[in-house]
């Protein structure tokens, strides 16, 4: 045992190609108890953790994104590789655990070969040996160890078999750390006479000839499958000893079928997409009710005053508007996680790559775009998986055009206003139309932005799509769940504070300076009094001043300052639009009928300056169009700045999408009026 307490905690870094079982090993060693860290000055995100106490290793464990080789292609990969040589905070790793899939040694040995060549202290962790055994093969750890000149341990991700052995080897390495000279490791991407990947592959082929052993004869193999394996083995000889998983090939005959493949893809995505809405709705209502009740509780039990309102309408409602999206984000990450873990998502990206490449995007843009229909914030973060910078920025650029769920209550209200009471079925059709319209317009916008992209982003041009299609397997529910949990936590931490701060700013603007209005209290209930006070307060607030200030630009699109105020308050979160509309139009009952009451008062509202009716078919349709395009979400702006590394893209997004919204609304309203629809 070491007695020196001042000794720095050793750093163990996990590296490996994508789909090599790296994350499973990380979860096993860390007990899923990890925190995310960002590399300074980049968006590359890592997980770090202490190794579980039961393993008795005092070391920091760092996970890293999957890399195929040490020669980086994308900027994010470059940071990942550079940080192996010298992490800005943690230094050079003392031990590298390199995971390799035993069934894919012909490809996966490249990375450990390169790392050993560069002088890293490597332990190779062989994963998926159980799958290889099913194919009737076994890799000799000792032979591979001799060939690679490093330690090799087999670990089974599911049964945890081999973990003890790995821990032992790690401890041994840590005890002998003084024999390992980190100084030899140098960063040199571009040394001319360095070994090339082809050299390494040639060496790997030599290694592969020596390391396979027959399965232990004591193992139970039934005759039928053994014979089948034999046939497979004979086939494999012609294919360098490797062939893809038979079951995967069979499934792909259906899922990657020329015609049915795409139909199934659309179905899967349709189900994913609708589940975000329908599964989440009851939970969202629950959260909404909880915070409304909490709000009422505070208002009823404390003296009315600015502090009470700060608590109730500022902090409680603000927190509510952050948490109300958590169910959707949970479900989205859960479904996408299951699809990803099963191996389907990579196929989805392949199927959609061609259409998306036509508008300057990539097959990998697809998942972030679908996520955008729930919420733009996790969607923008998800765009990190796109290796090409240009395609990644373009994807982030158009994500705000995906009609996120916060716009749904606004659409619902305006559709309810537009359609006659006896034709409620029309609502669903209009809603479907809105989504279709938003998909089509985002395609058009992406196409146009792509044409002008050279003026917007200066990034490399070469577009690439090379993606491993992993073997199909049953998703591992526990790891999907923990990933879902962590992604949702990330959303709350990232977007939460911003949404809360802006809710507080808007609370201030809508409450001051006329904080305590005097109202006639005779013969009305407490709730009615509350609501009258609220609308009085809002009418004389700073937000109303702001609304009146922008009225000149609202009038051409058929709207007045009251809608202006509501649009301003919608900047905290779009769904606030409905409640703030209710306040500006003095809706005084607060029960189940409130939407009907709001509808009635909307029907009667007139523009004060002109005496025209305010909410006509034309202006309501215009408002829907406005919400389809406008980037009215300050949290999106903040995340976009963080992820693109500057203000240029978020500012352009706000300017372009908001002016587009204005122009399209103008065209809609005046176009409808021109053809006689008021």
């Amino acid at each position: 045992m070491k007695t020196n307490v001042d000794v720095q905690i050793p750093l163990i870094t996990l590296v490996g190609p994508p789909n090599s079982g790296k994350t499973t090993l990380f979860n096993t060693l860390s007990g899923k108890n990890y925190k995310t860290v960002n590399y300074p000055g980049s968006t590359v995100e890592y997980y770090t953790s202490r190794i579980l106490a039961k393993y008795n290793i005092n070391a920091e464990l760092l996970d890293s994104p999957g890399i195929v080789s040490l020669i980086p292609e994308s900027p994010d990969e470059k940071i990942a590789v550079d940080s192996l040589y010298s992490h800005p905070k943690l230094g050079v790793p003392d031990v590298l655990l390199v995971t390799v899939d035993a069934c894919q040694l012909a490809r996966h040995l490249l990375l450990p070969k390169q790392l050993i060549y560069k002088g890293f202290n490597v332990i190779v962790v062989l994963t998926m040996t159980d799958i290889l055994a099913k194919r009737g093969k076994k890799v000799s750890e000792s032979k591979l160890s001799r060939e690679l000149n490093c330690e090799v341990v087999s670990v089974n991700g599911r049964s945890k078999k081999g973990i003890e052995n790995l821990i032992q080897k790690v401890n041994l390495k840590l005890e002998r750390l003084n024999e390992f000279d980190k100084g030899k490791i140098t960063l040199n991407h571009s040394v001319k006479n360095d070994k090339t990947s082809i050299d390494f592959f040639n060496e790997i082929e030599e290694i592969l000839k020596k390391i396979y052993e027959p399965l232990n004869p004591d193992d139970k193999i039934d005759l039928a499958s053994a014979n089948k394996e034999l046939v497979v083995l004979q086939e494999e000889i012609s294919n360098n000893g490797f062939s893809p998983d038979e079951l995967t090939l069979k499934i792909d005959r259906v899922l990657l079928h020329r015609f049915w493949g795409f139909v199934i893809f659309l179905l899967v995505m349709g189900i994913t997409f609708t589940s975000i809405f329908w599964l989440a709705q009851p939970l969202m209502n629950l959260i909404d009710e909880l915070f409304t009740d909490l709000n009422t509780l505070v208002v009823q039990n404390f003296n009315p005053g600015w502090f009470t309102y700060l608590i109730s309408d500022g902090i409680i409602s603000g927190t509510g508007s952050v948490l109300v999206f958590v169910p959707q984000i949970l479900i989205l990450f859960l479904v996408l996680g299951l699809l990803e873990d099963s191996g389907y998502l990579a196929r989805g990206a392949m199927l959609i790559d061609k259409p998306l490449s036509k508008i300057g995007l990539n097959g990998r843009s697809f998942v972030p775009m679908i996520s955008g229909y729930a919420c733009a914030i996790p969607a923008i973060i998800a765009a990190r998986t796109i290796p090409n910078k240009k395609e990644r920025l373009l994807t982030i650029f158009i994500i705000p055009l995906m009609s996120c769920s916060a716009r749904l209550p606004v659409y619902a209200l305006l559709i309810a206003y537009l359609i006659p009471k006896d034709k409620s079925w029309l609502g669903g059709i209009i809603l479907g139309g809105i989504y279709l319209f938003s998909i089509l317009t985002s395609v058009v916008v992406a196409f146009i932005i792509n044409k002008f992209r050279k003026k917007i982003f200066t990034a490399e041009e070469s577009s690439s799509f090379i993606l491993e299609l992993p073997t199909y397997k049953l998703p591992k529910f526990s790891s999907v769940l923990s990933h879902t949990y962590n992604s949702s936590k990330q959303y709350i931490y990232r977007a939460g504070p911003i949404i809360l701060v802006f809710s507080l700013v808007l609370w201030f603007l809508t409450y001051f300076p006329h904080i305590n209005p005097q109202v006639e209290t005779n013969g009305i209930t407490f709730e009615q009094k509350q609501n009258i006070e609220r609308s009085e307060r809002l009418e004389k607030s700073y937000a109303a001043d702001l609304g009146k200030f922008i009225e000149p630009i609202m009038l051409p699109i058929g709207m007045d300052w009251r809608i202006g105020v509501s649009l301003i308050s919608a900047f905290a979160a779009r769904e606030v639009f409905v409640s703030s509309l209710a306040l500006t139009f003095k809706v005084t009952t607060d029960d189940d009928q409130s939407q009907n009451t709001l509808l009635t008062s909307l029907r009667e509202a007139k523009i004060q300056a002109t005496g025209q009716k305010l909410f006509t078919t034309a202006t309501s349709a215009g408002l829907i169009v406005f919400f389809i395009f406008a980037l009215q979400c300050l949290s999106t702006v903040a995340v976009s700045r963080k992820e693109t590394g500057g203000w240029k893209i978020p500012i352009l997004q706000v300017l372009i999408f908001t002016s587009l919204a204005y122009v399209m609304t103008f065209i809609t309203v005046n176009g409808l009026r021109f053809i006689g629809i008021q």
């Binding site: 490809r107 082809i198 294919n239 360098n240 062939s243 893809p244 795409f262 299609l469």
Partner: protein
């Protein structure tokens, strides 16, 4: 000379060389597409592009434009 992009469904070929002038050539080699390897076209997607090939026991989806720089014997 034929390239991987010109393979028919289910057809196998042996890689002869990689066109190094292609910007993706390095990445292609790192995925295991090296001279002498057997490659098989497993699937084509609905719009014919990208294609799924089997190399070194793994399925890899690759755009035709990139598969075009993998030359066959």
């Amino acid at each position: 000379m034929r390239t991987v992009a010109e393979l028919n469904l289910g057809e196998k070929g042996i890689i002869s060389e990689i066109d190094f002038s292609h910007p993706s050539s390095k990445r292609i080699i790192e995925h295991g597409f090296t001279p002498g390897q057997i490659i098989e076209l497993i699937n084509k997607s609905t719009f014919n592009d990208p294609i799924a090939v089997s190399i070194r026991g793994t399925l890899i989806a690759i755009r035709k434009s990139e598969a075009g720089c993998i030359k066959l014997k």
